[in-house]
């Protein structure tokens, strides 16, 4: 008989393997990685005029991460639960003797693995920067790590939203909308407008809920405990909501 912990681990492992196989059995992961690299490349090298900065750092590259993740991560997560509902396979999952959080975390980790792979494929750019001049590799490593953690937070939004609908497209649209709100809240244009309207403390408070704010510190190569707690706390919240949305179906919700 499986303990609670074993049940979680069994579900996590099975769901992770299943989702990884689903990503790579179809062109989804390959297309995702290719488009992500292409768009990130265009934004970094062309839009940010990387070579005009004259600095051997990846600032222009990391600058775009929150804004691109806001679009790409919900796309990666949109089918995680919505497809289970539309294809009827949610019934198979709910009949398994595993814990629901295990399944939820396993699916999220699979999407996170694909995101990590996409980020890993940008490492040649890091090498290129080192060829161009002396780079602060420790700072770059910290920013890479925080970028990956932030990607997990964006994926967690997409996964939780996908449990609310049987339409992957709708899950994507809602996911992007939620991600946009959580990104733009830290944008000076938005936090400034809120500050003008409701006072400086309201502007600051709104900005504290933004991914942009917490990623900004890491972009300077500083690893802040507050940022880690924020992102991991946010992921935990989304996993809890995701589990709640899926378990709600046991009551008869579709």
């Amino acid at each position: 008989m499986m303990s609670q912990w074993q049940g979680t681990l069994t579900g996590l492992r099975a769901a992770w393997r299943r989702e990884i196989s689903a990503y790579f059995a179809t062109p989804l992961a390959y297309v995702f990685v290719a488009i992500f690299l292409l768009v990130l490349g265009v934004f970094t090298w062309d839009l940010s005029r990387f070579f005009d900065t004259g600095a051997a750092d990846l600032g222009p590259f990391f600058y775009w991460h929150p804004w691109l993740f806001m679009m790409f991560m919900p796309a990666l997560a949109m089918r995680l639960w919505s497809e289970e509902t539309s294809q009827g396979t949610a019934e198979l999952l709910l009949a398994l003797p595993v814990s629901l959080p295990g399944l939820v975390i396993g699916k999220l980790l699979a999407a996170w693995t694909v995101a990590a792979l996409a980020l890993a494929l940008t490492v040649p750019w890091w090498i290129a920067v080192n060829i161009l001049g002396p780079a602060d590799n420790a700072a770059i490593a910290v920013t890479y790590m925080m970028s990956l953690i932030m990607a997990g937070a964006y994926l967690a939004i997409g996964a939780a939203v996908s449990a609310l609908t049987r339409s992957a497209v709708l899950a994507f649209v809602i996911g992007v909308l939620v991600a946009f709100i959580l990104t733009a809240a830290g944008w000076p244009l938005v936090s400034g407008a809120v500050a003008d309207l409701l006072g400086p403390s309201a502007g600051d408070a709104i900005a504290q809920f933004s991914f942009l704010t917490h990623f900004e510190t890491a972009q300077r190569g500083v690893l802040e405990l507050r940022g880690l707690i924020f992102f991991f706390g946010f992921i935990a919240l989304c996993v809890a909501l995701n589990t709640l949305f899926v378990s709600h179906r046991r009551g008869g919700a579709q």
């Binding site: 008989m1 069994t10 689903a22 396979t89 198979l92 709910l94 009949a95 595993v98």
Partner: protein, 241 residues
């Protein structure tokens, strides 16, 4: 083995299962009959742990589906209506996934996958994508998945739906082979399947048992056999309501 005690389920104002109780022992194959909307699939889904009952309980080999859900679910092999499968997988990868999800070790998984592929007679399609398989083969893959952990109780929702006569015969033979060691519930619309597969029949209407007999006894209750008996029960219930 399987003991349903006053199971109830409603969806909003609609009562799907009003009050359902029955007991099933090892070696019994139960034909679970009823008109569309009678509550068959809802009952199966509650027993499989997919839906939470509003009231009552199901004891599965001594484990309560409401208070020890995972332990109860580990005793059940469930083939849902329509046999939903991951179409991007092959039968082998799908069965490995199901074995992993039931916590089988690597060696157990290998043996279990080989066993159910042989039992369900899907060796010739085991490496093909599920999306490329016929409806009949897909149903057999679903059946193989339900058997992967050698459960004590099998819940089969329309197991022969969409199968050709040869495939139906193969499923019947498989059920007959497994019957002595398991308790099996088969929900079906196809009445002529019942005498061939089942040792007992329960007919439900609006989530209540209206007949609980052997197939032969039920068939003998009307001159036209099982079909007439089923229609007569439906008519009687309609007249009462």
């Amino acid at each position: 083995m399987l003991d349903l005690q006053h199971l109830r389920k409603s969806f909003g104002d609609h009562i799907a299962v009003a009050d359902l109780s029955f007991h099933l022992d090892k070696g019994e194959v139960l034909g679970f009959l009823g008109q569309n909307g009678a509550g068959k699939s809802t009952t199966m889904r509650m027993v499989a742990g997919v839906l939470e009952p509003d009231g009552g309980d199901a004891q599965i080999n001594g484990h309560s589906i409401t208070s020890a859900r995972r332990e109860a679910q580990s005793q059940i092999g469930y083939l849902p209506e329509g046999a939903p499968l991951y179409r991007d997988m092959t039968p082998v990868t799908f069965l490995r996934f199901m074995a992993d999800a039931h916590g089988l070790s690597r060696v157990q998984r290998k043996n279990a996958v080989e066993r159910v592929i042989a039992d369900a007679r899907i060796a010739n399609v085991a490496g093909k994508p599920i999306s490329a398989l016929s409806k009949g083969y897909r149903r057999r893959v679903g059946l193989a998945a339900a058997l992967i952990h050698d459960p004590a109780i099998l819940l089969l929702d329309e197991p022969t739906d969409g199968l050709d006569p040869v495939q139906k015969r193969a499923v019947r033979a498989l059920v007959a082979r497994m019957a002595p060691e398991k308790a099996i519930v088969i929900s079906t619309h196809t009445l002529d399947e019942v005498p061939a597969m089942c040792s007992r029949v329960i007919v439900i209407d609006k989530g209540e048992v209206v007949a609980d007999q052997t197939p032969n006894a039920l068939a003998a209750s009307q001159p036209g056999g099982l079909e007439e008996a089923f229609i007569a029960l439906a008519d009687t219930r309609e007249a009462v309501s």
